[in-house]
């Protein structure tokens, strides 16, 4: 249908030109037409031959991405042409979405091409922050005046008594490209709805607090502490730290206590009565749920708080 429309249109144009150009003009017009014809044919031939003869083998994935791109070579992405961008985006997926002319369609297309290489074995990994202590629940020996970065603060002696807990300067927040991590009351908190599991935060944390955990359930239970201090020391440092008492391990063997610290074996974790009980029995309330719909964690019982308070007093 379209072809027929085209033909009729062209016929109309021809008619228009012919009527407008009587006499000596026809020669000139035909000359122009012939020249354009020559040019067009010439280019078609040359480019066809060149594309055959001068073909260079490239990574098929790059070709795929290249084909998905608009191929305008506009440079808006900051790269020298679509080819370079295709190559770059393959190496560094963070560059996704730089193609302004392509918009979201191209972004989706490339994302789907890139995702082909991500093997999907097991549940998706999401970060869990192994600390649950708010700023007011921690002990500070001194005030840190300086560069507002966890890495910097971590390099200095213990202004914050706990050497293992969250520092709250937000290196992870800055690392997160998806606005999925925020420091809330001095504690890094994951917004699981926005999280894509890119692992940037876990790489950024100088204390290795953020672990990528395979989320077998919607919400995962976790021991939100990373401190290997002995119970007494841990209590003096933090109201909600793990004291390594081993109550949880007695309930279910999904919990393992090592070096004064309880850990949950995430690969074996399944929601169970026993695990729930362990959580209830934990004296400092360090066992919590983490996930998109995790309930608000239980506040610690009075006793450890009182101990910490007493410690602080003297």
């Amino acid at each position: 249908m379209i072809v027929s429309y085209c033909v009729s249109r062209i016929a109309y144009l021809l008619f228009f030109v012919a009527s407008a150009a009587p006499g000596e003009g026809v020669g000139k017009i035909l000359l122009a037409g012939a020249m354009m014809l020559g040019l067009g044919t010439g280019f078609a031939v040359v480019l066809l031959i060149a594309s055959k003869k001068l073909k260079v083998e490239v990574d098929p994935k790059i070709e795929q991405i290249h084909a998905a791109l608009p191929n305008l070579d506009c440079g808006a992405c900051g790269f020298a042409g679509c080819g370079s961008y295709a190559k770059a985006v393959l190496d560094d997926p963070e560059l996704l979405g730089k193609c302004a002319p392509g918009g979201s369609e191209v972004l989706d297309a490339i994302a789907s091409i890139l995702n082909l290489q991500v093997s999907d074995s097991g549940p998706a990994k999401r970060p869990i922050v192994h600390c649950r202590s708010r700023r007011d629940q921690r002990t500070f020996h001194a005030e840190y005046y300086g560069i507002p970065s966890c890495t910097a603060a971590n390099a200095l002696a213990n202004a914050q008594a706990c050497k293992f807990g969250c520092l709250g300067f937000g290196d992870c927040t800055r690392a997160c490209k998806f606005d999925a991590l925020h420091v809330v009351e001095g504690l890094a908190t994951v917004d699981y709805d926005k999280c894509t599991g890119c692992t940037a935060c876990s790489k950024a944390c100088p204390r290795g607090l953020i672990e990528m955990v395979p989320f077998g359930q919607e919400n995962m239970m976790t021991v939100a502490c990373n401190s290997i201090e002995t119970g007494k020391a841990a209590r003096s440092m933090c109201k909600v730290g793990c004291i390594g008492c081993g109550v949880c391990a007695k309930q279910t063997d999904q919990f393992i206590v090592e070096d004064n610290l309880a850990r949950l074996d995430y690969t074996r974790y399944e929601p169970s009565e026993a695990a729930e009980k362990a959580m209830q029995k934990c004296p400092t309330g360090v066992i919590v749920y983490r996930g998109p719909t995790a309930p608000e964690p239980r506040q610690p019982k009075e006793k450890p708080a009182a101990v910490a308070e007493a410690k602080k007093g003297d």
């Binding site: 122009a32 060149a50 073909k55 808006a76």
Partner: protein, 196 residues
């Protein structure tokens, strides 16, 4: 001697006095896009210099020796763009095939340049200015490339510094680059009237 002088003056004029970026607004897209890093900027500048010299010369010849003689002025724009696009694409394929290392350093910029208005713009300006001889056309085209390289390298240097500056969020990226380019254009006005 006079010819040499005139050529030198033409060269200086296109490089600084009539700089394509700062006075004619040509090649702004890559100027904004590829001035983020200085090595990229330099590669881009080199590629533009190469292409603009090539296409300036080619289009001058086609325009003056074929189109004008045949009275086919009307096909000028079509011819220009096809010649530029075709030549660039061929050169790119050629370099990619036979000089892979050269391709890595500046060949990757070649396709980007096809749609760079600096190239077509210069060809059109050559026509508009009524350039007298092929030699002058070559010198002017080459100078235009050099001027573009200079402009983009200066901007790349500035932008490397700006990366460390606390530029207001809404001005980051293209806006601040444009403002900087404006101030550079202001500075380049000092050269105005130097060469007539």
């Amino acid at each position: 001697m006079d010819t040499v002088n005139a050529l030198i003056l033409a060269f200086i004029s296109i490089v600084i006095v009539n700089n394509l970026v700062f006075t004619k607004f040509l090649g702004i897209c890559p100027y904004l896009g590829v001035s983020g890093r200085i090595d990229m900027a330099f590669g881009m500048g080199m590629a533009v210099t190469f292409v603009v010299t090539l296409s300036g010369t080619l289009t001058y010849m086609i325009n003056n020796w074929i189109l004008m003689r045949l009275g086919l002025d009307v096909a000028r724009y079509v011819c220009f763009i096809l010649v530029i696009a075709g030549a660039v694409q061929l050169v790119e394929m050629y370099i990619r095939k036979f000089f892979p290392s050269l391709y890595e350093s500046f060949g990757i910029f070649l396709p980007l340049i096809t749609t760079n208005c600096a190239i077509l713009g210069l060809c059109l300006f050559l026509d508009l200015w009524g350039v007298g001889s092929l030699l002058e056309a070559v010198v002017l085209s080459f100078g235009a490339g050099v001027g573009f390289t200079m402009a983009i390298c200066i901007m790349a240097g500035i932008r490397e510094n700006l990366k460390m500056a606390d530029v207001p969020e809404c001005l980051k990226g293209a806006p601040i680059t444009l403002i900087t380019a404006g101030l550079l254009a202001l500075a380049f006005m000092g050269f105005a009237g130097m060469i007539r």
